[in-house]
Subunit: 414 residues, 2 copies
């Protein structure tokens, strides 16, 4: 992508109404645009980041047998009444709207009810199980206060996976697999070392749920991390835990964190309410055992931005960077540099390498300031010096590694 | 994909509440699920089809300089009041909902207002123009009657492109490019020969708009096609046209059709209302000239299903088929066939070919009936006969071509 064609511009100052670090840096870099409190749109660079996060999640969900679908936002009263979650007294964060007929419909904040209802058409025998279904889709929550930029919004992307198993045993095995897959996701997007499996309240579904909590001062949660095994306990249930539920360790360290994922044992709560039964090989009719598993890609993006930024600079982990390289031509009045940079840009892109090419006619200072905000970790600079030596100045902003190398050497390394 | 793992099952009968051909065949094949009247979810096979349609659209939008973004569903009253399109009297198909604060927000049925508002941060000079921005995103319309399956729904995917040009001339050039790109899209998805550029009312924006109308009895529109140049005129404005507006031909043929795309000259209607001005090179402040361009991928999918199906059978155009090949193993009790089919499946998928592999232990008749509904155009059958001859039975359901060929020959052809 030629930066001269990119419509989004960086901003020197963050908007006054953005308090959170992630929103400030992401608005300034031209990744997101605030539509209203708690509602953001994604600009080209931001969409590239979120798409890469989505694809990492998708790969890990597919690897454990997940089948991708796409459900509707509009939700039917009839279906949700069956579980008792339609009324605003039961679920306070519903957004609802009216059809011309006068019928009320909801905007999905989760999808247990409609997915169970849909699977009644596809599950009838033990031979149809297990089923693992997921989607990456918009959710709506009528939050009283939206804050923290991308980390608590009224409209947000969610990857929600639902599992349907014949009994507790096979459910527990898959639940374990999802835990592993989630760690892979968080490792791959750059939140590995800072993300802790955290015991939390199971709500009305089961004794515990598991959260994935990433350490950051911007988080709204407090977790107590076992100093031995690094498993954590959410403050909300720490009074129940004198010892670590994983390793029986006794020392905890309290930290602030943000919940980037969660997994729930749902048991037969929804399958019984909506009558999702199957005929087992013993001839008996049984309720399907369920789990649900969420990751918020937007919140993940916000968390990465919190952790990998300072006041005027952001460095994306390579795996989610909008482009693999930022090629910066310091042309000044030297048209040979422009020509050479152009050649390098074409060579890289035609080799399948994604490149943001700063071909704009502005000062070197402005280019570097923008590049710092845009956050591509690998930078290639072509200026007077590199032109005469025939070498590009390569810099890896994560490792700090700097070297001069020719285009051929670079392509050889890729 | 192993069909034994695919959770969606085909159905012998269409649901009683589905009247339209496209919904009946798509529900039966396990592509879509009806959530309520006018609201559908996409199952794995359906999501694969819609993703392929989306990617074709994306490629053609990128090819003319489109930059992809993703805007929010929730819409702010403040922004829409500026154009006069907030009130239900002005726009009858709004769906609206209330935030906890009591503020009303809308669910986007289009995105002119928010995109103009957003671009005020990025366009200030003639050097910032042109800008071409698009998204593939959910839209909501409070239709009085939802009918025709995927062809008129209350919630639907839309590709909406918006162009921002400095003057009428450069706008007109881009408008022409979009026309060409749209024909490429409709050709590529298999609607080429049947889709006509159609003059229609420009509404409040301009004298005419252009629609892309695909011939089908399931359509809600009537168009009058010029027998000379194949350009059409929508019935709603045919009284204004004694002669073809494109070639001055005088003979028209009336046909039923569905609108699969539309393009509008918006002039400065929205840029003036929302104050999107730029400083031109003559130093003067001017309003940006806009166009908007829509394609409904779900409606395109429904239209393809209408055209390429009969009562019990569907044949997707290759370009949008959920898989490139349907591999059908007629194993019966012959485990050698199962083993050989497995080998072929692995060889094809590891060569990057997408394959739906019917590995289920059911009768040949059931397999073929399902394959007819699922609609993959290229079929590979492995049975007793093919096993002994070392050749697969290949059938192209579009051309009718049938031949026997070895796996090596098949891979050689790909």
């Amino acid at each position: 992508m030629r930066q001269s064609h990119l419509f989004s511009h960086t901003r020197r100052e963050a908007p006054k109404d953005e308090a959170s670090k992630n929103a400030r840096i992401l608005v300034r870099g031209g990744f997101i645009h605030k539509e209203m409190a708690g509602v953001y749109s994604f600009l080209p660079l931001g969409l590239r980041v979120i798409s890469r996060i989505n694809n990492i999640i998708r790969e890990e969900m597919n690897a454990i047998g997940g089948e991708e679908i796409l459900m509707s936002t509009l939700q039917s009263e009839e279906v949700w009444k069956k579980s008792g979650r339609w009324d605003d007294e039961a679920v306070s964060i519903w957004m609802k709207t009216k059809l011309k007929s006068g019928a009320e419909v909801g905007l999905g904040f989760t999808h247990e009810e409609p997915i169970v209802n849909m699977l009644k058409n596809h599950i009838s025998s033990h031979k149809d199980l297990p089923v693992y279904v997921y989607q990456i889709q918009n959710k709506f929550r009528n939050e009283t206060r939206a804050k923290s930029g991308l980390m608590r919004t009224r409209e947000f992307l969610m990857k929600d996976l639902y599992s349907f198993s014949k009994d507790e045993d096979s459910h527990a095995k898959f639940y374990g697999k999802v835990k592993e897959a989630y760690f892979k996701v968080f490792n791959r997007v750059g939140l590995g070392g800072k993300t802790h499996l955290t015991y939390a309240s199971g709500g009305s579904f089961s004794k515990y749920s598991h959260e994935f909590q990433t350490l950051t001062d911007a988080g709204e949660d407090h977790i107590h991390i076992c100093t031995t095994c690094k498993t954590a306990v959410n403050e909300e249930i720490i009074h129940e835990h004198k010892i670590c539920p994983e390793c029986s360790g006794k020392d905890f360290k309290k930290e602030k964190a943000v919940e980037v994922g969660n997994i729930f044992n749902l048991g037969t709560r929804f399958s019984e309410a909506l009558e999702l039964f199957y005929r087992d090989d013993d001839g008996k009719e049984k309720a399907v055992v369920m789990g649900s598993y969420g990751i918020g890609p937007g919140r993940v993006m916000g968390t990465i931005a919190e952790i990998y930024s300072d006041l005027n600079s952001l460095v994306w982990p390579e795996s989610v960077s909008p482009y693999a390289f930022h090629l910066i031509a310091l042309s000044g009045k030297n048209s040979d540099i422009t020509k050479e940079a152009d050649k390098i840009y074409h060579k890289l892109t035609s080799s399948g390498v994604s490149v943001l090419f700063d071909d704009r006619e502005i000062s070197a200072g402005e280019k570097f300031a923008d590049a710092d905000l845009i956050g591509i970790p690998k930078r290639l600079v072509l200026g007077e010096r590199s032109l005469s030596s025939g070498k590009l100045e390569y810099k890896n902003r994560v490792t700090g590694e700097e070297k001069n190398l020719s285009l051929e050497e670079l392509l050889g390394e890729l």
